[in-house]
């Protein structure tokens, strides 16, 4: 994990989208989600793994994910999270908004006079 100050704080709600995205291929436990985010982002987002779980609870409250106890790949009891249809739709909507937003910001930052 990178020291915090090197990368910005995650925008609120962003972690939720990352989790939903991580669950898109199928059910996964918390550790697997953390690993997926770590691998996919090359660890630049520097998420405190502990913050993943409250975020998962919030997603569950909104019925975007469901939970179920199951057995992990190495035969341990683990809690698995699954994307619901509503979660899938939310991910799609949020992703669209996010992409539009980040494109806009990028465009502004790239506009002349250039910063660097």
């Amino acid at each position: 994990m990178q020291p915090r100050q090197e990368s910005g704080e995650l925008l609120q709600g962003t972690l939720g989208i990352l989790i939903l995205k991580a669950l898109l291929p199928g059910a996964a436990h918390g550790y697997a989600i953390a690993r997926w985010i770590e691998d996919t982002t090359d660890d630049v987002l520097s998420i405190e793994e502990g913050s993943l779980y409250p975020a998962l609870r919030r997603l569950e409250d909104r019925r975007w994910v469901t939970t179920e106890w199951g057995v992990s790949e190495n035969n341990r009891r683990a809690k698995f999270y699954t994307l619901t249809a509503a979660g899938r739709k939310h991910l799609r909507d949020e992703a669209a908004v996010w992409l539009r937003y980040s494109q806009a910001v990028t465009r502004v930052l790239r506009a002349s006079p250039a910063i660097a």
């Binding site: 436990h29 793994e49 913050s51 106890w69 992990s72």
Partner: protein, 882 residues
């Protein structure tokens, strides 16, 4: 991670263990990370440190998750419970609809019981429980009654009160333009309204200087009088009306809910003390003192202070020394207690009775449910077999009971509204705060609580029984009768016994009241009340200050009324029997009690009457003579005494010619006649001593209390109009009021007793009916359940009489047991009737024998029908049926 003992994890097998699950989830995460770190080549210790660093604050996350999950678990539990409840409710509703007869019987029984409770609670709440409608009513106290001198002395010495004032009943003739009416009012000290924390809705309150003699010519109207007589016009302020013939200015109108001291008060006058008149200041104890406790002062402290100061006040009395023991009864009590008075006790008694009715109703419904549970055993067994746990089935059945209770209560509230309307209309006058009685939110809330409690009360035993049946039946043979029958009969037997016991208590109470009322009505009052009409005549003080005018007015009135066709005799008296509160008077007796400074004997009643009074009342003159027209002011002062007075002071029978006198300096009165004792105060009156003096010789001739009594030859009631007409012709400023026949006066005096008797009687009849229905129901059920046994008995040669005896005997035994329990309970309960009883003891043997025997008889009658049915059982069919 926090060290949670491992054993706690096993708790999740019993119920979801939130904390253990959270621990598992987090532990799994850390463990996976540690494994990976080790795989990446770290030492075990580094791997763990790195994993925990990556994770962040484990304790905090854990705490957060546990809290979140617990909250969610609760809300899910609630939702699940609610869903189950709704399902039970739907199911219960369907079950009730399948058994409409049962549902209607149970609902009506409960509606009756709960409705009666709600109605009586409305009354208890309005009168006893609800605080008085004044500012900080709990700080208001009643201090008792006193003379003006005593009140002023007390006021100047007390420190416990921030304010203290008085009210005095004052009733005056008021000229309302088209007629002069005697209207009840109240004199109050000018600080009283601010003391209570009430302001006029219109106009202004009294100011201090209006409490001075000569300046007290203002008045405040009640909302009711303002609406009835002044058309609710705001222009009344500043208007002048004649009170006692004196012009008084209306300065304000009080709010509609202000009824102080009682609902009968129609206006308020400022009270002015007149220290210049020592007689008025010290001899009249009619000042009701009301105070507001100073901040931080307790009632006990105020009581202590009044107790200390009161005895010292006697030294202020310039007229006589009342003695050290004089009137120790003056003590601050909560104003609410004073307003409610003895009505509170009566209401709690009624409330107790109505609760008994509800309990009897509950027992009945429980019995119905019990019978139903047996017939539903098959259904419950199936449900148990399909996996319905006993707790779940129990909940279902209790929900059904609650549904019944709620149905009953809803109907009951409607019933209560009607009953309350009837109660308010038929209540005897003088019930305090009667105007405030209504079925309000508090009453509905109370009813809801009662419904819940009754639902559980009558539902739980049958539900427990039924679920037990369900289980045993499921394991034995579905639908077949098993050994549970005996058990069932024992339970319903206990219920019948309880029911009879409860009803016996009520019926005993009702019977005692009925016997008291009968005793009261058969009291000989010493007056022939038939064919007498009485009316109160109130001349306005302004025009009749000169007593010769009063004499003239009443002389002319007697003359004119006597001349009317159909009129026998006419008389005037200053006190009508049962017409008002009568107070005793101390008398001197020549040769026995002459010194006014010493303890004088007290005479129960002292009346001033005109000639013709004894003839009109049909009170015979036993010895001597009655009053004649020559017993005038300028003649020898005379008196007539009742037998008891004569016997008390002259046991040798030589009372005639002896002399008695008032305690103050006045000429002796020579006894010229002796009459029998009469009841003057009420039918319960025990003070037989009466002294009569000629109305025209009275030193206190002018009195606001003067009644004309007329003996008529026909029905006296229509003569009321004649009396009004004659008075109007003589002087239209004289008010005529309270024109009623003597029979009505007497019967109104026992209105409260009659009202109580009727209510308790109605409750008792309800309990009796419910009890009889209960016995009938249980016996019918018993016969239907024991058809086979009866069949065998008949087949073996039992006679019809034997079978009837079996059933009836069982009913009688149950009733007898209940009656015994009830009689013992009644023995203790009837003490609560206390002063409501008259001429009959609270343990009246007649009642205590007749009621239980009556109940056994009722049980025999109620069980006869099912018993008779049992005799017609065809043994062949009964045996084949199995």
């Amino acid at each position: 991670m926090s060290p949670t003992p491992r054993w706690r994890r096993y708790l999740r097998f019993i119920r979801p263990n939130v904390a253990a699950d959270v621990d598992d989830e987090l532990a799994f995460h850390i463990a996976m990370r540690v494994e990976r770190n080790v795989a990446l080549g770290m030492t075990a210790e580094d791997a763990r440190r790195e994993a925990e660093r990556r994770f962040g604050d484990v304790g905090m996350v854990r705490h957060q998750l546990v809290r979140h999950d617990e909250r969610r678990q609760h809300s899910e539990g609630r939702r699940e419970y609610l869903m189950d409840f709704l399902q039970d409710l739907r199911f219960g509703w369907r079950a009730l609809r399948r058994a409409p007869g049962f549902a209607i019987a149970a609902t009506l029984t409960l509606a009756l019981g709960i409705g009666a409770n709600a109605a009586i609670f409305s009354v208890v709440h309005a009168i006893v429980l609800r605080p008085l409608p004044y500012r900080e009513p709990q700080r208001l106290v009643s201090v008792g009654t006193a003379s003006a001198g005593e009140f002023l002395g007390l006021r100047d010495r007390l420190h416990s009160f921030s304010q203290i004032g008085v009210w005095i009943p004052q009733t005056h003739p008021i000229d309302l333009g088209d007629e002069t009416v005697r209207v009840e009012g109240t004199g109050i000290t000018t600080n009283l309204l601010s003391l209570l924390g009430v302001a006029p809705r219109l106009g202004r309150d009294f100011v201090a200087e209006e409490g001075e003699m000569g300046k007290n010519t203002v008045l405040l109207l009640s909302d009711g009088l303002w609406r009835e007589r002044f058309g609710a016009s705001p222009d009344v302020i500043g208007k002048r009306i004649l009170v006692e013939g004196l012009p008084m200015t209306i300065i304000g109108v009080m709010p509609g809910d202000f009824h102080f001291p009682s609902i009968t008060t129609r206006y308020w006058l400022p009270n002015a003390f007149n220290p210049a008149n020592p007689g008025m200041t010290w001899a009249v104890n009619d000042k009701h003192m009301v105070g507001r406790l100073a901040p931080g002062v307790t009632l006990e402290r105020a009581q202590r202070e009044v107790r200390e100061i009161w005895p010292t006040l006697r030294h202020l009395n310039p007229l006589w020394d009342p003695g050290a023991e004089y009137r120790r009864d003056v003590a601050p009590t909560p104003l609410q207690d004073d307003v409610v008075g003895t009505t509170g006790r009566l209401l709690w008694m009624l409330f107790g009775c109505v609760l008994l009715v509800l309990l009897v109703g509950c027992v009945n419904v429980a019995n119905l449910l019990l019978a139903r549970a047996t017939s539903r055993a098959r259904e419950l067994a199936v449900r148990a077999a399909l996996g319905g746990g006993r707790g779940r089935l129990l909940r279902q059945l209790v929900t059904e009971s609650l549904l019944l209770a709620v149905l009953g209560a809803s109907l009951g509230v409607g019933f209560a509204v009607a009953v309350v309307r009837w109660l308010v209309a038929t209540m005897p006058p003088g019930i305090p705060r009667a105007a405030e009685i209504s079925v309000n939110g508090t009453v509905v809330a109370f009813t809801a609580v009662v419904a819940m409690l009754t639902g559980v009360l009558f539902g739980i035993i049958p539900a427990l029984r039924a679920t037990r049946l369900g289980q045993s039946a499921a394991t034995v043979s579905i639908g077949r009768r098993t050994s549970h029958d005996a058990h069932h009969h024992r339970v319903s037997g206990v219920l019948v016994t309880a029911e009879v016991a409860l009803a016996v208590v009520l019926v005993v109470a009702a019977m005692l009241l009925v016997r008291s009322f009968a005793a009261l009505r058969s009291v000989d009052i010493g007056i022939d009340t038939s064919h007498i009409i009485a009316a109160r005549i109130t001349p306005p003080w302004e025009r009749y200050q000169d007593t010769s005018r009063v004499t003239q007015l009443f002389g002319a009135l007697r003359e004119r009324l006597s001349a009317l066709p159909g009129v026998g005799t006419v008389a005037i008296t200053d006190k009508l029997p049962f017409g008002q509160v009568v107070w005793g008077v101390a008398m001197r007796v020549q040769g026995q009690y002459e010194d006014a400074k010493h303890n004088l004997p007290s005479i129960g009643h002292q009346l001033q009457v005109t000639p013709g009074y004894f003839r009109t009342m049909r009170i015979p003159i036993l010895r001597g003579r009655g009053f004649t027209e020559t017993d005038r002011g300028d003649q020898l002062p005379v008196a007539i005494v009742s037998e008891s007075v004569a016997r008390l002071f002259w046991p040798n029978g030589d009372a005639l010619g002896k002399r008695i006198g008032y305690p103050w300096d006045s000429p002796w009165l020579t006894i010229v006649g002796i009459v029998p004792d009469t009841k003057q105060d009420s039918l319960r009156d025990t003070s037989r001593t009466s002294v009569y003096t000629p109305w025209e010789q009275s030193t206190l001739r002018y009195s606001s209390e003067n009644w004309v009594v007329v003996r008529t030859r026909s029905d006296p009631a229509p003569f009321a109009t004649a009396i009004r007409r004659v008075v109007r012709e003589l002087d239209r400023t004289v008010a005529v009021s309270d024109a009623r026949t003597m029979d009505v006066v007497v019967s109104e005096s026992v209105q409260k007793a009659r009202f109580t008797m009727l209510l308790v009687g109605a409750f008792a009849v309800a309990a009796l009916l419910l009890g009889a229905i209960g016995i009938y129901g249980v016996m019918t059920y018993l016969v239907s359940q024991r058809t086979q046994e009866m069949g065998i008995r008949i087949a073996l040669g039992a006679t019809a009489g034997g079978v009837i005896g079996l059933v009836v005997g069982r009913a009688a035994r149950l009733a007898a047991l209940g009656a015994i329990v009830g009689v013992v309970a009644a023995f203790f309960a009837t003490r609560w009737l206390g002063t409501l009883l008259y001429g009959v003891s609270a343990t009246d043997p007649v009642t205590f024998v007749a009621v239980p025997l009556g109940f056994i008889a009722i049980a025999v009658v109620a069980s006869y029908v099912p018993a008779h049915r049992a005799t017609r059982i065809d043994p062949v069919r009964a045996l084949k049926a199995e």
